[in-house]
């Protein structure tokens, strides 16, 4: 496309020629012709963006990468000109989401690659916010040497970056606190599943492992039978995370949702490491349920879900607990991570859960103190709000739930040590 300079030069050139003709002045005409000639000759030279671009993240050539919030990502872009022509002056810009902060280097370069030449752009970004992001595409602009023509294109080379919430080490805190301890094998679930103890015999179904075939039963009955084991895992741990609109009160880095995702990630990591099954329920404008599973894959799924949550909606807690009641096995511990604001159904929901025998632990980021970070709350109002919150927490703990009043400036592990009961 023509730049402003080229358009002005063309207009000026034509004007000079015509005015020169009007007043019979050769200098003006020749000046105008020179401008037009300059444009015409520059039109011969064109760059190209026929480039081969590869991107590596932290040294690995990949299209997907996972990092934790606050981590740095080292991106290296290699641009190669595999054609027979020079690229002429190119500007290469790797599109980086505005939520990422450039820590070192720069994500663009001006280059002129000869045939077969390459260049590398290396930069480091920090991801202060969790979420799903995409690096790329790579924008390439050919610009004429004299800034007369410019041509943009995009090379569709993208890399997906998932920024997980931070996972804190809370093992010691959980051990020292009054949070109910779960030991592997402490409770048998009487459900079939992977495990050691014998549960029952059943017919062989295609896909069953050969080693689970009970040959004695086969010899006896003549039919293939397999041994079913009792599920080894302990009871499922349910984590219910409040992602309603009220959970966004505070700054972008400090709000109940951010604190909640850290807590959810840390708790799920702790239990998954202990080979417990962890389920995740997030509720806001809708309810998302990740069924209980164990293993690293489940851990990844939990983190991935937590990375994607956004604060919206106003679904009541009781609706969630009612929906989940059939899925929760009796006695399963339930972690409720919520600021408890703006929801009148909190008490009955927790009461119902406690009534069904669940161990309920409520981890509540104090949204009033988070609100205080950004709004000027009159002192009296603040005190009354705090009192009201205390009442709420007290009422909750009156139903047997473990309540943690989590202040913004307190680490998760410290907060867990504060768990209190009635």
């Amino acid at each position: 496309m023509w730049t402003r300079k080229a358009a002005l030069m063309l207009t000026s050139g034509i004007s000079l020629i015509l005015i020169g003709m009007m007043i019979s002045n050769f200098q003006l005409m020749i000046a105008g012709l020179t401008f037009i000639s300059f444009l015409a000759i520059n039109g011969w030279v064109s760059g190209h963006s026929d480039l081969e671009i590869t991107r590596t993240i932290n040294g690995t050539e990949t299209t997907m990468a996972n990092v934790y919030k606050g981590d740095d990502v080292i991106v290296e872009l290699t641009i190669s000109n595999n054609s027979y022509r020079r690229t002429q002056q190119l500007e290469v810009f790797d599109n980086v989401p505005h939520e990422m902060k450039m820590r070192q280097g720069i994500n663009q370069m001006r280059m002129n690659l000869g045939p077969g030449q390459s260049a590398r752009i290396k930069y480091r970004v920090r991801c202060p916010l969790r979420g799903h992001y995409t690096l790329g595409p790579v924008s390439v602009r050919y610009r004429n040497v004299f800034n007369l023509f410019a041509n943009e294109s995009k090379v569709q080379d993208r890399t997906d970056i998932t920024v997980f919430p931070q996972v804190r080490e809370i093992e010691e805190a959980l051990l020292r606190s009054d949070v109910p301890k779960m030991y592997t094998g402490a409770t048998t679930l009487k459900t079939p599943g992977p495990g050691m103890e014998f549960y029952s015999l059943r017919e062989y179904l295609p896909g069953d492992a050969f080693r689970s075939i009970n040959w004695k039963a086969f010899a006896r009955t003549g039919e293939l039978m397999v041994n079913e084991k009792t599920r080894d895992a302990v009871t499922d741990v349910f984590i219910i995370l409040d992602t309603r609109d009220v959970s966004r009160i505070g700054t972008v880095l400090k709000n109940p949702l951010e604190m909640g995702t850290i807590a959810a990630a840390s708790v799920s990591n702790y239990f998954i490491r202990r080979r417990d099954s962890v389920a995740l329920v997030t509720y806001g404008d809708k309810m998302d349920y990740l069924p209980p599973e164990t293993g690293d894959k489940q851990g990844y799924k939990v983190l991935s879900n937590l990375a994607a949550v956004r604060a919206k909606g106003s679904m009541p807690l009781q609706a969630v607990t009612n929906a989940m009641s059939s899925r929760m096995s009796r006695g399963s511990p339930v972690f409720i991570i919520s600021s408890l604001e703006g929801d009148g159904t909190t008490l009955p929901a927790i009461r119902n859960l406690a009534g069904r025998g669940h161990e309920v632990i409520v981890l509540s980021p104090s949204s009033i103190d988070l609100e205080r970070l950004i709004s000027r709350i009159p002192r009296m109002s603040y005190e009354v709000l705090k009192l009201e919150r205390q009442n709420r927490l007290t009422a909750i703990s009156g139903y047997g739930a473990k309540v943690i009043d989590w202040m913004p400036d307190v680490e998760l592990s410290q907060a867990l040590l504060q768990v209190r009961t009635v």
């Binding site: 020629i17 005015i19 020169g20 003709m21 007043i23 019979s24 002045n25 050769f26 200098q27 003006l28 005409m29 020749i30 000046a31 012709l33 020179t34 401008f35 037009i36 000639s37 300059f38 444009l39 015409a40 000759i41 520059n42 039109g43 011969w44 030279v45 064109s46 054609s83 027979y84 022509r85 020079r86 002429q88 002056q89 450039m102 070192q104 280097g105 720069i106 370069m109 001006r110 280059m111 002129n112 690659l113 000869g114 045939p115 077969g116 260049a119 590398r120 752009i121 290396k122 040497v145 004299f146 800034n147």
Partner: protein
């Protein structure tokens, strides 16, 4: 990551000493001075009739031509005004007081322009506080220069002769107020020629886009005003004595029939203006890019190598394209002759006969149309000649040859 030597980093002070940057700035400066010189040759004289009417070649006359000594002498002699700057700085005389002529008249003012540019660039590198202080000092100094002599003279006169108004017939002190304005008028005469030179130098070495484009605009404005003032319709009403350009561009006798002498000079002016502008702006563009880079990128060998590639190719393009532009424009100006021959050769019919003998082709219209046609063909050649592919293949071959050595 390997680090480059300190002298090779992309920091601005280092870059300003890089040979590519200096070369571009020197090309720009040389072009600027050559434009001034060429314009002085083409637009710097008065008509003979005007000279005769003014009293002959030996008299002091002035017409608004692109020339500075005439105006200064006229200003000096007509109003009995003493020039404030010494004559050697104006280019009127040498140090010994001998009058100067020709190119020697440019030396003094050019030296003054260079000195002002150096001072200005030096000031730009100082802190903002010092810059403000200097600005204020100059403004206050100017006002003081205007008021202080007047006040001191008046007060002293009042002490000696008693109180009186400054405009007393016996002792008119008001004349002292006008000295700075006389200086400004003096600068105006000098500035007719050297204002764009000063602005251009400041733009090139002070890295100011605005100054460079201002200088280019000034040159074009001089050409335009000269064209207007020498237009027949205007000179019939008001003749200011400017020597017009010849009515005919002349026959192409130079360089094997490529260009006529008049066309060559005019083409040189246009081309030099372009070279001055492009090379001056090139430096600014590249240094702006370098200044935008973060500290680690300035030391990154990849960035250093590519910066070098970009600026080297800019120089190559500047030289190559400007040469081709000059050739193309020269050919375009003579393309009407070729068109006549071609038409006559291709077709012997009625239309070819008309075109061959057409009045339009003998006047400027034919030149413009034929030049326009030629430039259209030139522009269209980009779709025909794969010259970039050819040069790319040559370059690939050369690099392979070098790598096998």
């Amino acid at each position: 990551m390997e680090a480059v030597p300190d002298s090779q980093t992309l920091h601005i002070p280092k870059l300003r000493r890089r040979w590519q940057v200096l070369l571009l700035q020197l090309i720009s400066t040389a072009s600027l001075l050559m434009v001034m010189k060429r314009m002085n040759v083409v637009f710097g004289s008065c008509t003979e009739e005007f000279i005769e009417d003014s009293g002959g070649i030996e008299s002091t006359y002035w017409c608004p031509a692109y020339e500075h000594t005439r105006g200064l002498n006229y200003w000096q002699s007509s109003g009995s005004v003493e020039l404030i700057l010494p004559d050697f700085l104006h280019g009127l005389t040498d140090f010994a007081g001998e009058p100067l002529t020709g190119d020697a008249t440019f030396v003094g003012p050019l030296a003054l322009c260079i000195a002002v540019t150096v001072a200005w660039v030096f000031l730009l590198h100082q802190s903002e506080k010092i810059q403000t202080w200097v600005n204020r000092a100059v403004s206050i100094g100017f006002v003081a220069w205007m008021l202080l002599p007047f006040l001191m003279s008046w007060i002293y006169a009042m002490v000696i002769n008693g109180p009186h108004v400054p405009w007393h017939p016996a002792a008119n002190h008001l004349d002292l107020l006008w000295t700075p304005f006389m200086f400004i008028f003096e600068m105006v005469f000098l500035g007719i020629v050297f204002a764009p030179v000063l602005a251009g130098l400041m733009g090139i070495w002070g890295l100011s886009r605005r100054m460079i484009t201002w200088a280019v605009g000034y040159f074009l404005m001089v050409v335009g005003i000269h064209a207007m003032l020498t237009f027949e319709g205007i000179t019939e009403a008001v003749d200011v004595g400017l020597q017009p350009l010849p009515a005919q561009i002349g026959d192409a006798t130079l360089y094997g029939g490529l260009v006529s002498p008049l066309a060559l000079v005019l083409l040189q002016i246009a081309l030099l203006i372009l070279v001055f502008m492009e090379s001056g702006l090139a430096v600014i563009t590249h240094l702006e890019y370098a200044s935008m880079l973060p500290e680690d990128a300035k030391r990154n060998p990849e960035y250093v190598i590519q910066f070098r590639n970009v600026i080297n190719s800019h120089i190559v393009h500047l030289v190559g394209i400007m040469t081709v532009v000059g050739l193309t424009t020269a050919i375009a100006l003579e393309f009407d002759d070729f068109l006549i021959s071609l038409v006559g050769f291709l077709e012997q019919g009625q239309w070819s006969g008309q075109v061959r003998e057409s009045l339009e082709l003998q006047l400027t219209y034919g030149k413009v149309i034929s030049a326009g046609l030629f430039l259209l063909v030139v522009a269209g050649m980009r779709f025909v000649l794969p010259w970039q592919r050819v040069t790319g293949i040559i370059e690939t071959g050369m690099s392979r040859f070098r790598s096998t050595d």
